[in-house]
């Protein structure tokens, strides 16, 4: 009992920075080798990209201190040794990238719409927002306000949609497409599972037809054929025609995604709701859809991100979205050869929006999971 115990070395650290490094980066020799290789690649790549995008880049002035007005004045075209990005093209064309050809004296309308969009998204993003109900009501009427504000009416001069462009068109198409396609998709999904053969047949036909056709075809259809279906004398706006096509396309995909969620709901949920005397719509809106949509959040966001990026296809039918403006700028002799800068900028803007959506979906999943064990029945 009285033997002296030899003192031992402290155990290998498993906590703190050292412990983290040991477990995650240098666990065994393959792991260490990969870590070293990745560090080497980052060492080669990161300084170069930082140098190109920031340290050696021109923002407004070139290295001689002149304000850049065309590609010849870019530092890298004056002296290849000073080769960084020439962001001046974005600076000079910024207005077009954000507003298209919207008249400058009316641009406040677009700015207000952007601000209102941000406010409309607030109650969706922050569930603990004070006065959330009032904000939500604003979210519902926002599209109507934005429509009149951007398009004209109530004393505001009309701005034809062919003057719209850049981020404005991208956001209008993306947001409207996603927002309208969701309820239509829900109805189509319910319809497809309906016991009434006429309704389910119609939904199946619609979904399969729209899904079986490329978006570009639908865009052409919207542009060329939709006017043929309208009564004579009614001219549908070009942007609206494209919106119809985009919404139809997205709603078919949304329907299938939500149907997937519906199929995961056990029949017992339907029976319990029925046995309590709930009607079909009550049952679906209170019991079935909240659960089905919850499990479908990842694919819903997935198709929404897909649509947001697919809006760039409208360039085919002559609308100038963000990418369209970029390509237009590239074709300008003043800015020839600046494709890196322009595509980098366009990608960055798209990335910011899609990354935001994907983070939002993660947040939703996390929030909705708390306290609920969907597996238990």
């Amino acid at each position: 009992m009285n033997e002296k115990i030899e003192s031992r070395k402290p155990p290998v650290a498993t906590t703190g920075i050292i412990g983290w490094l040991r477990i995650n980066l240098f666990f065994n020799w393959t792991n260490s080798l990969i870590t070293i290789f990745v560090i080497y690649c980052l060492y080669q790549f990161v300084p170069w990209i930082l140098d190109w995008t920031v340290f050696s880049a021109d923002f407004k002035y070139n290295y001689l201190g002149q304000q850049i007005t065309n590609q010849e004045m870019c530092s890298r075209n004056l002296d290849p040794k000073n080769g960084g990005a020439c962001w001046a093209v974005i600076y000079v064309r910024f207005y077009q990238f954000i507003y298209g050809f919207y008249p400058r004296e009316e641009v406040w309308r677009v700015n207000i719409s952007y601000v209102m969009l941000a406010i409309a998204l607030l109650p969706l993003l922050i569930t603990k927002l004070p006065y959330r109900k009032i904000f939500l009501n604003f979210t519902y009427i926002f599209p109507i306000i934005a429509y009149f504000l951007l398009n004209g009416g109530f004393g505001l001069p009309d701005i034809s949609t062919n003057k719209w462009g850049g981020l404005l068109v991208t956001l209008v198409l993306g947001c409207t497409g996603i927002a309208l396609a969701f309820p239509i998709g829900v109805l189509l999904a319910l319809g497809r599972r309906s016991n009434l053969p006429v309704i389910s047949m119609m939904c199946v036909l619609f979904i399969e037809f729209i899904r079986g056709v490329p978006l570009i075809t639908l865009l052409f259809f919207g542009m060329v054929m939709l006017p043929l279906f309208l009564p004579e004398g009614i001219d549908m706006d070009g942007l609206v025609r494209v919106l119809v096509a985009v919404t139809l396309f997205q709603s078919a995909y949304m329907a299938e995604v939500i149907r997937g969620g519906l199929q995961a709901i056990p029949t017992g949920q339907y029976e319990a709701a029925r046995s309590l005397g709930m009607s079909y719509w009550r049952m679906n809106f209170q019991i079935i859809l909240p659960q089905a949509i919850r499990i479908s959040i990842p694919p819903i966001v997935n198709t929404s991100i897909g649509l947001f990026k697919d809006t760039t296809l409208v360039i085919i039918v002559g609308l100038l979205d963000l990418l369209g403006i970029g390509r237009g700028t590239l074709a300008d002799t003043n800015w020839l050869g600046l494709s890196y800068e322009i595509y980098f900028f366009v990608s960055l803007v798209f990335f910011i929006f899609t990354f935001g959506m994907s983070r939002y979906s993660l947040y939703l999943e996390k929030k909705l999971k708390t306290g609920i064990n969907m597996g238990a029945d």
Binding site: P266, G268, Q269, E271, A272, A273, R274, S275, L276, G277, M278, S279, R282, Q286, I287, P290, Q291, R294, G371, I372, N373, M374, G375, A376, D377
Partner: protein
Amino acid sequence: MSEESIISLKNVNKWFGDFHVLQDVNLEVKKKERIVVCGPSGSGKSTMIRCINRLEEHQEGSIIVDGIELTGNLKNIDNVRKEVGMVFQQFNLFPHLSVKENITLAPIWVKKMPKAEAEELAMRQLEIVKIPEQANKYPGQLSGGQQQRVAIARSLAMNPNIMLFDEPTSALDPEMIKEVLDVMVDLANGGMTMIVVTHEMGFAKTVADRMVFMDEGKIVEEASPDKFFNNPESDRTKLFLSQILHQ
């Protein structure tokens, strides 16, 4: 006799495809009567009680519940469902709603009850099933026995005249069966009309007014518990009882 019946099944037939699940089923249930239905699996006992609130459609014969005949008429079906509560083997609680919301949902939306009143009602029902402290939890956080008691409270909140139980204890761990059966015994003593599909013979002996034994889609024997357990008429019943009581 037929006048005082609250549930009346006459020559009910039902097929699943070629399978004849219910064959000329006749059953009369009086007000406040407690019926226990038993029989081997696949004998049609669940199907029969599911026909009573039209979760299944019967194809021939007539089912009259509280004076309302069950037909394709959706309004009639909704009216019957308001009268008839049902408790399922798998509880079927709504997992995205809290216990309290599970109970208040139907009173608020189907009976148009004000929210505060419905919540008070929910708490009263939870007292009856002896778990008022679980009101704000979600079903996934409760044990099976607690979930089944919430399911009973949810049905009772609609103030039904008739309660149907479809093997309410079959999905429970043995030590939780008693807490659910106790609630059901209380309910029976309170005068509720009940049809219970179960293999809990102890429960049947204490509460049943009448035993119904089904096999292969037919009602084979209908008797008082005393006669049913001690002196059954049919050989099929004897065989079933000998199997189930010698476990």
